[in-house]
Point group: C2
Chain length 196, copies 2
């Protein structure tokens, strides 16, 4: 049984589905996983991989596809959610701190729920402080620490690590060197983890 690394980046739209699903699915599959927040925007700019900007037809499809799949999972997002996120970097700096301190999963679910279900952009007020308060973290302390040089460097480092593994988008699931990209590969990745 391999461990699964969940490479996730607040700002990614399809990650909403994975953030909301992974905990129950991984538990059912008996697979342990780690949250690996990174800066997907940096990776995509670096690799000239710009899937939605200036592509209105593909963007409209993306929202409809998420809406249909969310309904199948019993989720009720308000589609489209605000996009893109101005606070992407800060949102993920907070996630990196949360990964260190053990509350990243709760933060991810809280901030994605506000972003997708309530239409509040992640990475800024009111979403960010309210999400932190909800999960029992002090917004003032977290926001100061998350914007420190140390966490800024940590986000850059983990983003380089993602690229070194072949991660080019979010969500991605990495199991023993195999990359699975997209919420629609979550089940495949869990099956792979169970077999290897």
């Amino acid at each position: 049984m391999s461990q699964l690394d969940f490479w996730v980046s607040i700002g990614s739209t399809y990650s909403y589905l994975s953030v909301m699903r992974i905990d129950a699915l991984a538990r059912a599959a008996g697979v342990t996983y780690r949250w690996r927040p990174f800066n997907v925007r940096h990776v995509m700019i670096e690799q000239n991989n710009i899937p939605f900007k200036d592509k209105p037809i593909k963007t409209a499809y993306m929202w409809r596809d998420i809406e249909r799949r969310a309904a199948g999972y019993g989720l009720s997002p308000q589609i489209p959610a605000p996009y893109p996120l101005a606070g992407l970097v800060l949102a993920n700096q907070v996630a990196v701190l949360g990964a260190e301190e053990g509350w990243v999963g709760d933060y991810m679910r809280a901030t994605y729920r506000r972003w997708f279900d309530e239409g509040q952009p992640a990475g800024e007020a009111p979403n960010l402080p309210d999400s932190l308060t909800e999960i029992g973290q002090d917004p003032d302390r977290v926001l100061a620490e998350a914007q420190s040089d140390r966490i800024e460097a940590a986000l850059a480092r983990v983003t380089e690590e993602a690229m070194a593994l072949g991660v080019f988008g979010a969500p991605s699931f990495v199991v023993g060197g195999e990359v699975f990209w997209g919420d629609d590969r979550l089940e495949d990745a869990l099956t792979w983890a169970g077999r290897h």
Copy 2:
């Protein structure tokens, strides 16, 4: 029960999986479908949607993903297949003629099998004449007719029709105005067709 339109374009890599799968899956689901060959390259250039060119990491992932999924479906392609195809337009002109004359499905399976399983590019010799001969069509007649002004115009027309429906890539499955993009949405599209 709705009819499903299978928008497919020779040149699309993931379409290999759908071409090889759709007949059995549609039959099992009791869904009737139509082959709608079109020129996906024209659509993607038109919409500035260039997923793989100059994106080596994403391209490497695409091949590995197809290889993994093909194995799960009992298919054994030689990965990577030759890509991109110089003969994309001709390959799809032949498909448009095949759709008129009723042999498009046999042609698609024959030419994709040679392209992916034997490493012979579609849309040129030996793949193209051998595929036509295999399915009982005369290559000389078909190649002359497929390159006529009439079929050239028909391919352009069906490609405009695809864009008007919101199709931006291949394979796509359209059921009653709903677009499902990607081989990994084939089952969803069939379920949708069964329900509506």
